[in-house]
Symmetry: C2
Subunit: 328 residues, 2 copies
């Protein structure tokens, strides 16, 4: 099986690639498929991947239809489509968001369709698809009124994946991700970046100013669990998904204050002391529109699970990304 990961230099992409190579196979509804090739595409070269003859690292534009068609045409059986311009960036640069998030997804779907082989197509969607007046709990039965261009582009992507799947052009799944923590690396232009930064930066000995207030509610899922969710999505039979290929992944709902408390449990008071708060209107406005409680019935029935606790998420991060070392 030849697998493509777009956005494969991103933190989820790299960890998904490592996981797939370690597993040596991808389980689909037809059973475990040996992984013979893994192509990783991103606009920057992917790093942090093992030396492995099966892997090919490509640098290119995830909206380049010609490039995508040449990659997919080279025997790709499964695509994990993670490439995206993140929320604040897509809001600031409308054209860039449209090009990558909407036209890029379309080009990738068209490249899959051109093969005539119905590739597995697993796409990262986002809880940013929700917006407008929301019930206390939201999920797949919630009407989508995204209030950011990023959310609109993700919602359009879901509609496309549903229809391309219905037509048999791809065998799609779209996972609506809650806020994924703890993202390694530097803070980025995702509006949700703070939720990772406020854990990561202090644990690494750096001061961090959180751009949302302590009472801000978030719904978080660990990097370990989101990688597991992408792998799990591949194994689901299409019939189990029913009238839509979209699934809202579950998460743990808590406030920023709760996350800080867990950070103190794992890292100690000295770590927490590196945090300060100075709300930024642009970020607060985007984040306050996001729902934080999801109806878990569909995700549970399909076998997706949330983490056990914020403490576990943070200590797994210390184990996986910091070699067990906290700067106290």
């Amino acid at each position: 099986m030849h697998i493509l990961i777009t956005g494969g230099a991103g933190f989820i992409g790299v960890r998904l690639a490592r996981r797939l190579l370690a597993d040596n196979h991808l389980r689909t509804a037809a059973g475990p498929q040996p992984i013979t090739r893994l192509t990783v595409l991103d606009h920057v070269p992917a790093s942090g991947l093992p030396e492995d003859p099966r892997i090919r690292i490509l640098t290119g534009d995830a909206a380049d239809a010609v490039l995508l068609r040449s990659i997919i045409g080279d025997g790709v059986d499964a695509v994990f489509h993670l490439a995206a311009v993140v929320s604040v960036a897509a809001e600031r640069d409308f054209d860039l968001g449209m090009t990558v998030n909407l036209h890029g997804t379309l080009a990738l779907l068209e490249a899959c369709r051109a093969t005539g082989r119905t590739p597995l197509f697993i796409k990262a969607s986002s809880a940013a698809v929700y917006g407008g007046p929301l019930a206390p709990e939201v999920g797949e039965a919630t009407a989508l009124f995204p209030q950011t261009s990023y959310g609109m582009q993700k919602a359009v992507g879901e509609l496309l994946v549903d229809d391309y799947s219905r037509k048999g052009f791809v065998d799609g799944r779209c996972l609506r991700l809650p806020t994924i923590i703890v993202r390694p690396g530097a803070p980025n232009l995702a509006a949700s970046s703070f939720a990772s930064s406020l854990v990561r930066e202090p644990l690494m000995g750096r001061a961090y100013t959180c751009p949302v207030p302590r009472e801000t509610a978030v719904c978080v899922l660990s990097v370990r669990r989101v990688v597991e969710s992408f792998v799990h999505a591949a194994a689901l039979p299409a019939a189990a998904l029913g009238h839509t290929r979209a699934v809202q992944l579950p998460g743990l709902t808590m406030t920023v204050a709760d996350l800080v408390t867990a950070l103190g449990v794992v890292g100690g008071a000295g770590v927490v002391a590196r945090l300060s708060f100075a709300p930024l209107a642009e970020i607060v406005a985007i984040v306050k529109g996001w729902p934080v409680r999801f109806t878990p019935t569909r995700s549970a029935a399909l076998g997706f699970a949330a983490d056990a606790s914020a403490e576990e998420i943070i200590s797994d991060f210390v184990t996986d990304e910091l070699d067990g070392k906290v700067v106290r």
Copy 2:
């Protein structure tokens, strides 16, 4: 005010153009705007329009970005976007539907955005956006799982219009049309075509074989009312629309049998005798997925109304389109 109607050779487009020219102005939230120019674009030449120095009839591709930019750039203040590849045609020719319904809408929105003047943008959407498991009544709070490519393309169009409106690129409204009757002309490739044909053809002395059974439920709105709804949508202040620019227009819910009864009241038993029934699986499959009862709260609050009765719809058709003459 310079107005563009795309799909302006279609039955709604021509009647909307006539109405606008007769009114001499278009009422917007800022008050009545004198109509100085009316451009009608379609892939076939529009006919049935009055001689009028304000009108310009263009033949061209509603997905041609260069053409659209040149038209819109020529001082267009308001667009009625009616151009579409209809349901069965978009289902049979996926590429054609994507080109016109999705890429065409995008190109038109981009042309509007390029003006920097936030044109009024009033788009025909459709009850075909709904699908999957549905409550007995559906509306703007219903999650959209379209089960046709046409429905998907209309749902994507709504998401685009909402976001382009939020960004101030256009001032959008999307009207989800129920089945519009009585469409003049020959039967076409809209799956809903039967609802017009079974009234029109017998009244004009022709036999008609209906491709859905008598017990099929439909939700219908008259041509008069849909034209009135497009004009009314222009007058609404953006603030009245709230979190989405989409509005489900109301209609009258009835069975095909009810419509046939009304046809008998207006035209007599000899007219009804020209009807026969022979269900076609392709049409039945599409039509049975459409909801026929809509929650009217939002449309009523915004001032949209349904017709009084099926008899009135049919006798208005005889007056407006048949010069009052029924072939008995």
